[in-house]
């Protein structure tokens, strides 16, 4: 039997369209003017013990909502969900003993207390054996040098340090499964790398099952063998990351700020690029932020320098940034049939 079993799972939120002002609030109270948000609609998957799965998708895809159902916070609108053979929503306390959760940047440590005291309280909460506790603390120290932070108040930690502590804490009681929701969000590259290596080691240490939510493809590349892509509440892809990697590993997005930007810029750019490089080179021109034009392309087919040269020669460029392909672009490509 798989550790996590999900079948045709749905979660719909009823959201009130709020009316203006006091009288509006009063009317809302009695005659709801609701719309339904289908945050998760009809997903199914199974996760085996020991797996480390990347659950990825753009903002608002339904990742956190799925995690909230797996951890027993939210009751599904319909469908089957079992973790460890139990329905999470009805067995919250029992499930919590065998789970670890890190949710975004919101720490679960005790804000005013020194780090070590949080771990000691957690030892009491989860009834962790003294000997195992000491072993775990040693391991955390070996992995990220936790001892240096022991006496520091949680509130004084940097975001990265806090994240490392939170992740370590979520493994303290040797849970069967750990949910990490966006553990690298807002962190710079070097801290991200530290967090990734910590997660990797913790997974191998006790064969802990890990579900990792992220919209950073780098995280899944570094950690996961299996990847589940979700968008608009539906699963687009569930399988080996190699296939996805082969497709997107070499993709980069060139972000440009072009002088005299107007409505036709995107189209002109797209046309010029295709006529110069050919139609088979998979160029996508799009816009995700105001004033910035994104060109996404496959480095394996066209060297970055060629693209840069061409753009610089033909347009008056004010600013340039090169970023890894965004989740939104990946999803678009999957929709376009890139994964067959």
């Amino acid at each position: 039997m798989s550790l996590i079993h999900i079948e045709n799972l749905n979660k719909h939120f009823k959201v009130l369209n709020r009316r203006e002002g006091l009288s509006g609030a009063f009317r809302d109270l009695f005659s709801g003017n609701y719309k339904t948000v289908e945050a998760v609609s009809g997903i199914s998957f199974d996760i085996e013990a020991g797996e480390i799965v990347g659950y990825i998708g753009p903002n608002g895809a339904g990742k956190s909502t799925t995690i909230k159902m797996m951890t027993g916070i939210l009751q599904p609108t319909s469908g089957v969900i079992e973790v460890n053979g139990l329905v999470p929503y009805y067995n919250r306390i029992r499930q919590a003993q065998t789970m670890g959760v890190v949710f975004g940047q919101r720490t679960q440590l005790w804000w005013d207390l020194p780090v070590i005291e949080s771990f000691k309280i957690l030892r009491e909460i989860y009834k962790v054996d003294e000997k195992i506790f000491n072993q775990q603390m040693e391991m955390f120290n070996d992995l990220v040098g936790l001892k240096a932070l022991h006496m520091q108040q949680v509130r004084t930690l940097s975001l990265g340090q806090r994240m490392l502590c939170d992740i370590a804490a979520s493994f303290l009681h040797n849970p069967k499964v750990v949910f990490l929701d966006e553990p690298t969000i807002g962190l710079d590259i070097s801290v991200k790398a530290k967090i990734r290596s910590l997660i990797k080691k913790l997974n191998t240490e006790h064969k802990t099952t890990i579900i990792l939510t992220t919209h950073d493809l780098g995280d899944v590349e570094a950690l996961c063998t299996r990847i589940i892509i979700i968008d608009k509440g539906k699963i687009l892809y569930d399988g080996d990351i190699k296939k996805v990697n082969a497709l997107f590993g070499a993709y980069r997005t060139l972000k440009l700020q072009v002088d005299n930007f107007n409505e036709s810029t995107l189209q002109v750019l797209q046309e010029k690029m295709t006529s110069h490089f050919g139609t088979d080179k998979n160029f996508t021109v799009s816009q995700t932020e105001e004033f910035w034009t994104d060109i996404t392309f496959d480095q394996a087919l066209t060297p970055l320098s060629d693209v840069l040269n061409f753009v610089m020669k033909n347009f008056s460029v004010l600013d340039v940034r090169i970023v890894e392909i965004s989740m939104e672009n990946v999803v678009q490509k999957v929709y376009d049939g890139a994964l067959g």
Binding site: G60, T71, R92, M99, R106, Q108, D112, E117, I121, I125
Partner: protein, 265 residues
């Protein structure tokens, strides 16, 4: 599942740490304790001023009023000391930080409330006890073992009534965005608790006795010790009212917790 004993032990472990951390802000503690002291003294001052101009309040003398007020101070202390985190509930709910309370293998109300411990409430408790002793000596209340047990039971029930009212009111945050008025009103109502209910006319007295029974926070139980001959039959129900009301508040809390969906991120 965890036993009550384990919960109490855990509570002490968390609070010991919390107090240690708080002690770093000693000035803050001292100033707010002094503030609390003066608030209590001010109310007693008001009684004194009133009773300088009129001989009694609805037939109750100054010293009897002090007794009722002392009972009130003790009865609301558990709410202030143990349930102080309730004031933050609406922020946690709105900002989504409430989510973390679901992740531990603990009763959620316990875990949530254990995150705050109001030290200065202890000052109020001690003051209340001192005033209760002083006024009952002045009033020549003759304490028997039975009466003392009755005092403990009624104090416990009164504390539950106060806790229940505040917890239930704060749960509005689970369903309404602008929920503060509900809690604010509930908190304001407690100010009527240390007065003889007979000074309120029909509708108010009915409300304070049967609907939002703040009369059970101080006045009615105090009657048992000051003027047992005037006690209404329903005053003897106060333990049931306390436990019943708290159960109701807990049920509302559980409903809120189960229907909370967090914030759309």
């Amino acid at each position: 599942m965890r036993t009550l004993g384990e919960y109490i032990r855990l509570y002490f472990i968390i609070e010991a740490q919390y107090i240690k951390a708080r002690m770093q802000y000693r000035a803050d503690f001292i100033i707010s304790s002094i503030g609390m002291l003066f608030t209590s003294l001010a109310t007693l001052g008001v009684f004194w001023v009133i009773l300088q101009s009129v001989p009694d309040v609805a037939g109750w003398s100054l010293m009897e009023m002090v007794f009722i007020y002392a009972f009130y101070m003790i009865a609301i202390s558990p709410m202030q000391i143990l349930f102080d985190h309730i004031w933050q509930l609406r922020f946690h709910v709105q900002e989504g930080t409430f989510l973390k309370y679901y992740f531990r293998p603990l009763n959620m109300m316990f875990y949530y409330m254990s995150e705050m411990f109001d030290l200065k409430g202890l000052i109020q408790l001690v003051m209340g006890i001192a005033l209760l002793i002083y006024s009952s000596i002045q009033l020549q209340v003759d304490w028997t073992i039975l009466k003392f047990v009755l005092l403990l039971i009624t104090l416990f029930s009164a504390a539950l009534v106060q806790i229940a009212i505040i917890v239930a009111a704060s749960c509005a945050a689970f369903w309404v965005v602008e929920s503060y008025p509900v809690l604010g009103l509930a908190w304001k109502l407690r100010e009527f608790a240390p007065y003889p209910m007979s000074i309120f006319d029909g509708a108010f007295r009915f409300t304070f006795t049967f609907l939002i029974p703040i009369g059970f926070v101080a006045f009615y139980p105090s009657q048992l010790f000051l003027r047992p001959e005037e006690v209404h039959w329903f005053v003897y129900l106060s333990p049931i009212i306390g436990v019943g009301l708290f159960s109701l508040a807990y049920w509302i809390w559980a409903k809120g917790v189960n229907s909370y969906t967090g914030t759309g991120s």
